[in-house]
């Protein structure tokens, strides 16, 4: 994911012209991070205006009196002009204060603190599985099918991965729960008490990205193996492990990392479904309740949290890419 900032405005040009490649690169990333975060803030703020109905009425309850509604309107700050509301909203976010839930009257920050670690744990474990499985798998199959070898293996790999990547999360989740929890009774479901409880949800959430990333890694492996520098390495008679670990891996990892950010975003989306199948107490379960009850503060808080996570991960991936592949610094000019 390249959120390239091509601002050629005077100040940026002046600033970037005076910096070395690394500071210049970091500055650009920082600016684009800021722009996206600002957009996120505006979007979540606008949510209240886009949703039909009066938030004050919703908070006070349907059978509330006119005074009560007016009181809630004041408490929510809805009587203020829009720009004042927005500034208050931004200030609140800066203090990590997203208001309180209309329904449970719980502070949104508290909900997020309780539940976000669970979601992050699930998505993080998923990402770990994706990277640990799909990269070696893709490289292995790529190496075995290079230059049109092993046509059969290629057909099997392609059909297996295309089938798996077409499987929705709740299908894999249901199947896995049925096989490993119901039938074989190997792994627990619907609890977070046992440390093994994360296995099934994490596999369900990662199976689809594993398949699609393995395909990408295989293609990239084929691509790199066909490069001249691999022929050079072979002409130097390096042993196979050096050719693969030193010459192939960094170049393949670049591609894997580039879409690694997207994969993580997809995993976060997948957690919403999987958490509901496995009763995993993360944000995914909570956001559905919130949407169903039009509990604005909770929706705002959760969307912001997901959004910020995605943006931060993407920025981290960009920086990691620049570390792994020094060409990125030059190319992003």
């Amino acid at each position: 994911m390249t959120l390239r900032n091509e601002s050629n405005s005077g100040i940026m040009a002046w600033l970037t012209g005076r910096l070395g490649p690394w500071p210049r690169f970091l500055l650009k990333r920082l600016v684009s991070l800021f722009v996206v975060l600002a957009m996120l803030l505006v979007l979540t703020f606008l949510l209240i205006y886009l949703v039909p109905g009066d938030p004050a009425v919703r908070k006070a309850g349907i059978d509330a009196s006119a005074e009560q509604i007016e009181f809630e309107r004041k408490a929510l700050g809805l009587d203020q002009p829009v720009h004042v509301q927005f500034i208050r909203y931004v200030q609140g976010v800066a203090r990590l204060d997203f208001g309180t839930s209309f329904i449970t009257k719980q502070a949104v920050t508290e909900i997020l603190q309780q539940r976000f670690p669970r979601t992050f744990q699930l998505a993080g474990t998923g990402l770990l599985i994706v990277m640990l499985v799909s990269v070696p798998l893709g490289i292995l199959v790529g190496a075995l099918t290079r230059e049109g070898r092993n046509r059969r293996l290629e057909v099997v790999f392609m059909s297996l991965t295309s089938t798996t990547s077409a499987m929705p999360e709740f299908l894999t989740a249901t199947f896995l729960a049925f096989i490993f929890a119901v039938t074989l009774n190997w792994l627990p479901v619907g609890t977070t008490q046992k440390s093994t409880a994360i296995i099934l949800p994490a596999i369900s959430v990662s199976l689809r990205p594993v398949a699609s990333l393995a395909r990408v890694v295989r293609l990239e492996t084929l691509n790199v193996l066909a490069q001249d520098y691999i022929r050079t390495a072979r002409s130097k008679r390096l042993p196979a492990y050096l050719i693969f670990m030193r010459h192939l891996l960094p170049n393949v990892l670049t591609a894997a990392l580039t879409i690694g950010g997207l994969v993580f975003a997809g995993l976060l989306g997948g957690t919403v479904i999987v958490e509901n199948v496995f009763a995993w107490p993360g944000l995914g379960q909570r956001v559905v309740d919130a949407v169903f009850n039009l509990d604005y503060p909770v929706i705002q808080g959760i969307v912001l949290y997901f959004g910020i996570t995605v943006v931060l991960i993407n920025t981290a991936v960009d920086i990691l890419l620049a570390l792994v592949d020094p060409r990125t610094l030059v190319l992003s000019e």
Partner: protein, 806 residues
Amino acid sequence: MSNAPAYTEVQARSYLAFWRTPFFRAFLSSPSGFLALFLTGMLLATALLAPLVLTREEIYQRNVRRRLEGPSADHVLGTDNLGRDILKRTLYATPLTLQLALSAAGMAIVIGFAAGAATAYLPGRLRNMGVRLLEIMLAFPGILIAIMLVAVVGTSAEGAVLAIGIAFSPSLARVAYTLASGVAGLDYISSARVLGLSSRRIVFRYIIPNIAETLIVVSFNATASALVAVSSLSFLGLGVQGTQFDWGRLITEGVLRLYQVPLLALAPALAIGITGLTLGYLGEALARGLNPALWTQTAAIQSRTWLQRYFSSEYMLLTGATLLLVAFYFLPWFSPDALDPNRTLVTGAKILAGDTNLAAIATGSQVAMLLLRTGAWIALLLGLLSYFFLRYRRFCAYLGLICGLCAGSYFLSFLLADSASLGTALASAQLGFYLGVGATILLILQVVSDKSRQTRGSPDDIPAPSQASAVEAPVSQAQPLLQARGLTVRFELESGSISPVNDINIDLAEGEIVGVVGESGSGKSMTALALAQLVPHPGVVSAHYVRLRGEDITRMSAGQLRYFLGSEMAMIFQDPMSSLNPALKIGTQLTEATRVHRRVSGKALRKMALERMADVHISAAETRLKQYPHEFSGGMRQRAMIAMGLMNSPSLIIADEPTTALDVTIQAQIIDVLREINQEQGTTVLLISHDVGVIIEICSRVLVMYAGRIVEDVQITELMTADKHPYTEALIAAVPAFDSDRDEPLASIPGRPPDLDNLPSGCAFAPRCPYVFERCRQEVPALLHVDDNHRIACFLRTEALEDAQA
């Protein structure tokens, strides 16, 4: 995207029946096309017939006494918590689910394509902003955006469709943008414009056919993900409401009772999975059908009808076996009186051991279940084995199928009748088992005999190079460093076999610089790769021998070869940018081979590296070693390549077009460096180039190659004076003067180089030769000495000699 010629109207009219059109042939050219057709038919039939055949009563009528039952004759897949038939409800939900998915996908496609195409036509700055906005939106998971949008538009079926339509449009917009901004700039569009075609004709004849493939695949993928997304929202309770239900909602009910009636969740989940696959296959097959590049190919392959191909191909058998496994293995589990899974293996072993006292441990239907599984496993095993290992896979796959069918027929009888007799069950179980054992033994025998035949047969596959050529020894002055006899490279392709290098003999003396010259396709680069044992797959190198320093490298093990060639031979390739690994520092790349082959490291290694860098005149070598290739200039990269080759002090450097990718002044530098190394270190250089000028400048001897053979072997000093091969004459005549264009050095040789898969019967150069006579078209001329230092393969030059000898 291919830029093959568009499908013309004339072609379309010449095919009468639609199933014989190239579109349909390409559509069915892979099993997925057949599956797509079949599954789409099933899906459409279900969607249309389910609401007609099934009454509302059957779907909604509660029957609490029969709630949460397993599969039975009345309810094939069992009942839900209100006693309603699971299968019927799943089928009944088909039209609504499809309708929702299609509307959401349609919306996403319309919004996305329109927005994407529009973005492509925006003025510069706005377009950049639009693209960046798209990228930002794409970074967020679609399902989360959809959930947020549902909050805005309200929780209902329509709301879900709207939310998904909007949330999934950015990815489609991105594709449409790329296509729209890419297609307009393509060469064939511009040439169509120049030809004066109208915009409408350009759009329909050129643009649409060329982007249709991508658009269709993307649209079908979008539909599949819309299906999943709609179902997800319904599953979460944010989609279909009230008494209506789609597959997603059925799953919600099922997940709660996964432990009691697993089919309640699995049936609709499977329905979603199958529909998703159908959409994927359909998109893939349609795209294949619309790709004109595949039409001629498939037409050639499909001499048999597609039906014949499918029923005789291993694809079908493998698919069949897999389906059998899934059906037979999982279905018995849902049976109310199925065995405890943990006990089945023990019981199975007892039955197969011939234990007839089964009444104690199992009932008839339980035995039936067991044999279904056994049959399924054997079928799958045979299918897989035959798919991967066998020449006679068809035979074995049929046996596997029979095993599966034995089991399957019994399964049917079990479904129809309530209980089954023990005798029949036992008989079919044993029949299936013994068939399976027999087939497995056959398979193993087949694999073993295949293997032994392969190892014995391999030397015969490559025709021995002619003995005559080995007799005629090449030019050699001093002690030969390299001697290759009968060097041949062969590629077995589907269209036949070709030999880019055909039975050549090379001798290189110690300290020589020998050039190899020829047009592209003459086999000169392949000769270099063959000498280095680096010919790409599926090329096969054969030779009487290739001796380097007297050791035959064709008889070395992989380990010996690696060590020996790693220190005795180095290669330099054409493009120094792509030949150096961009992700590794120059120092690492320079030293790694020495580290491995000579076990030198630390300071000594660094000192060596610095010396070699000095040899090739790279200044500030200390810092240069720490830099990456992209920080080097083109000429410096090539010198670094040469330094890398020199690290192990090889006796032979093979340089494959080392100057071609460089500009003229840099070329001279590289040639100087090569010459210095040759003079100072005595390294032999084999220099491959299509540029006769470069060869003349540096080499002492030149080998001229044409169509995989050496046609002339001559000293540079004689090159301008002696009688030469007509091809060499043409090459020299084509050497550019100072003022001519260096990009096209060989432009003035009339005719084209020959196709290697279609060589003329006599001399390969005969069709282009100005001196051609009858004998040239019938016999291949041998490479013969015309004097001590000069060999030519041309009847024009050697016929007189032959007469003299005779």
